[in-house]
């Protein structure tokens, strides 16, 4: 046993796969301890906020101290944020079309460009040949550059409780900075929010945990059923073999995924919990494990050590457990890993079709894909709603398949390098 483990951990592929899986597991276990937000809480009003650090503006203004930093590129950054290069080119295009001579326009000189724009632009004038969309675009540009070059501080005012008139409370100069650590409310949304306004990262971690459990339960059920039936059919043979293989062949002929869809559908949305789905997957995917185990046992049961064990008067269960099972244990472990991986994929497949676990309690990787798809994240370009989920699914099944290949190389000498 010790020897086998040492050999397994000398296989590069197994170690890489194992490390990836363990990293995912560690993140899944540790993350909820550090970030204690409920994964399905709706925090954002609106859909698909992009990833980033969200600083509460109210708290930033009221930070205990405002620091003055005189940074040279502050003004340029401020302008650049509002007036991008393509906007400048577009402004030049408008001005030329309006009739300003082209050599008079220098788009890199912000002050001159804005002066020219100020002097000539008329929001109500629609130039001939310009589409309405383009016309609106120039209106938006015009609005955004309003007061761009102003150096006046912003005024914070509050209404007087008696007269209702605004009273100046504070001035925010352009050189005022707040330290993020001193701002009361900062929320890091590393992967933004989803269509319901929920934190994608927290949700992803919770979903990975649930999906791993689903895979594990499905894998355990499938391997247990497959192993038991395979051992019985292979070792006992005769009528038992015929009957068991009849059922196995029935299940082989019916496409598993169709069966899975039908069962999930007939259970109904209300009763479909994560574990129910896992069990449905487990009960429909044991077939090939049973067949493979059976054929392995068939070749083992006529070996001399089994005959010797019979001659030593051992009972059938003991022979199966002691003289057959250890010989196929490595194979069963490998099959189990593949079953877990395919269980996770099956759940994702079911959920994408809307037949996954009910949506109110737990997120799963498949459900996250389903939500992203229904709310058209892929069309809207909101990559953070689906890409991290895809990567996680791929990583989990990649790591497991890699472990499997590594194990195969250890246990099958013909595959060793």
């Amino acid at each position: 046993m010790q020897h086998t483990l040492r050999q397994v951990f000398r296989s590069g592929k197994f170690i890489v796969g194992f490390s990836i899986l363990m990293t995912i597991l560690l993140i899944v276990i540790i993350y909820p301890w550090v970030v204690r937000h409920p994964p399905l809480q709706i925090i954002g009003q609106g859909t698909f906020f992009p990833p980033g650090i969200y600083v509460n503006v109210y708290d930033a203004i009221h930070a205990p101290t405002l620091y003055t930093l005189n940074l040279e590129d502050a003004a340029a950054n401020r302008i650049g944020n509002k007036l991008r290069q393509e906007d400048r080119v577009a402004m030049k295009e408008w001005l030329v079309a309006f009739g300003v001579p082209e050599d008079e326009i220098d788009i890199d000189d912000t002050e001159k460009l804005l002066a020219l724009w100020e002097a000539n632009y008329n929001p109500d004038l629609r130039l001939p040949g310009m589409t309405f969309a383009r016309h609106r675009y120039f209106q938006r540009v015009n609005a955004s550059i309003d007061g761009l070059l102003s150096t006046e501080p912003a005024i914070i005012a509050a209404p007087n409780s008696e007269t209702g008139a605004l009273e100046q409370k504070a001035l925010i100069r352009q050189t005022d900075y707040a330290n993020v650590d001193e701002v009361a409310n900062v929320r890091i949304l590393a992967l933004g929010t989803d269509n319901f306004g929920r934190d994608v990262l927290t949700q992803l971690v919770a979903a990975t945990a649930v999906s791993l459990v689903i895979g594990l339960v499905a894998g355990l059920i499938a391997t247990t059923i497959g192993l038991t039936l395979g051992l019985l059919a292979g070792y006992i043979g005769g009528l038992v073999d015929d009957v068991l293989m009849f059922f196995t062949n029935l299940f082989t002929v019916i496409p598993t995924f169709v069966l899975l869809i039908l069962i999930s559908f007939s259970i109904g949305q209300d009763k479909r919990g994560a574990i129910t789905i896992a069990m449905v997957i487990g009960f429909t995917s044991w077939v090939w494990t049973a067949r493979a185990v059976r054929s392995q046992v068939l070749s083992l049961r006529n070996r001399d050590h089994v005959n010797l064990s019979k001659l030593s008067g051992h009972s059938v269960p003991r022979i199966i457990l002691v003289d057959i099972l250890p010989y196929i244990a490595s194979y069963v472990v490998m099959a189990f890993i593949l079953q877990v991986s395919s269980g996770i994929l099956a759940e994702a497949g079911l959920s994408i079709l809307g037949l996954g676990p009910r949506t109110t309690e737990t997120p799963t990787l498949g459900l996250m894909m389903n939500w992203a798809m229904i709310y058209q994240a892929h069309i809207l370009g909101k990559w953070w709603a689906y890409l991290p989920v895809l990567v996680t699914i791929a990583l989990v099944s990649f790591s497991m398949n890699l472990m499997n290949t590594g194990l195969d190389q250890v246990f099958n000498p013909a595959l060793r390098d």
Binding site: H305, N307, L308, K310, L311, G313, V322, Y327
Partner: protein, 270 residues
């Protein structure tokens, strides 16, 4: 020629057929035999002649398609696990390949302990068991102290096969089926294995059913020889009769196929 005792294992019309219909293979075809108590019987035949299948039927490891096997004059009954266990107290085997005769996940002690348990010594104190195992090992010139707590792959083929004989020594069955016990062993160890088998047989007086493809070896050890070809016994009788005055052409061919040191080897019959 030893005096023949009572028949302890007989067969009438014993047949084994594998498969059905067009894929039918008749491995053993209506063979009759009488093995007597204390006798050394050899069943000789080339590869694929059905020797091992017959041995497995004798051992009760595979079912008999047709015909009956009689054990100590009575029809053999293996209908339940208990009856099988009782039968296997009387008949034991040594297999051809010592490397596959052991469960590679178990220390070799367990093989010997199984024998003690089978002889009803499961509740003996540990010291007594060790003493019995030591005695069995020293019978085949092995040191139990060196072997205990070892795994089968740490032993040589000769050591493994000797340990199989030690196992028989502990079990002391009435009948031993030795299915080519020396064919996987090198020539030097072969003589030792045979010596121990003969010694064991002389001490316990058990019936030895020796299955081999080596007619020279069969002549050397046995009282009675059965020649098997394509699942049938083509000739049988005392060793001297069969070897010195062979009647069937197949027997003559087998004898001429034995390489002789001082003669040109006749390959024309092959």
């Amino acid at each position: 020629m030893v005096n023949k005792g009572n028949p302890c294992l007989s067969g009438r019309g014993v047949t084994k057929i594998f498969g059905f219909g067009r894929h039918k293979t008749i491995a053993v075809d209506h063979v009759d035999f009488d093995f007597h108590e204390g006798e050394i019987v050899s069943i000789v035949g080339e590869s694929g002649s059905g020797k091992t299948t017959l041995a497995k039927m004798l051992l009760g490891l595979i079912s008999v398609t047709e015909g009956e096997i009689y054990f100590q004059g009575k029809k053999r009954d293996l209908s339940s696990g208990r009856k099988k266990q009782e039968y296997w107290r009387n008949i034991q085997a040594i297999f051809q390949d010592p490397f596959s005769s052991y469960n590679i996940f178990h220390k070799i002690d367990s093989v010997l302990l199984d024998c003690i348990r089978m002889r009803g010594g499961g509740n003996l104190p540990r010291e007594k068991k060790v003493e019995m195992m030591t005695e069995a090992c020293s019978f085949v010139n092995l040191k139990f102290a060196e072997l205990t707590n070892k795994y089968p792959f740490e032993l040589s083929g000769g050591q493994m096969q000797r340990l199989m004989i030690a196992r028989i020594f502990l079990l002391k069955p009435k009948i031993l089926v030795a299915d080519e016990p020396t064919s996987m062993i090198d020539a030097c160890s072969r003589a030792t294995i045979l010596d121990y088998l003969m010694k064991l047989r002389n001490e316990t007086g058990m019936t030895l059913i020796f299955i081999t493809h080596d007619i020279g070896l069969a002549y050397y050890v046995s009282d009675t020889i059965y020649i098997m070809e394509h699942g049938r016994f083509v000739e049988s009788g005392s060793a001297d009769d069969v070897i010195l005055y062979p009647k069937h052409p197949y027997t003559r061919r087998l004898i001429s196929d034995v390489p002789k040191i001082y003669e040109e080897w006749d390959l024309s019959t092959v």
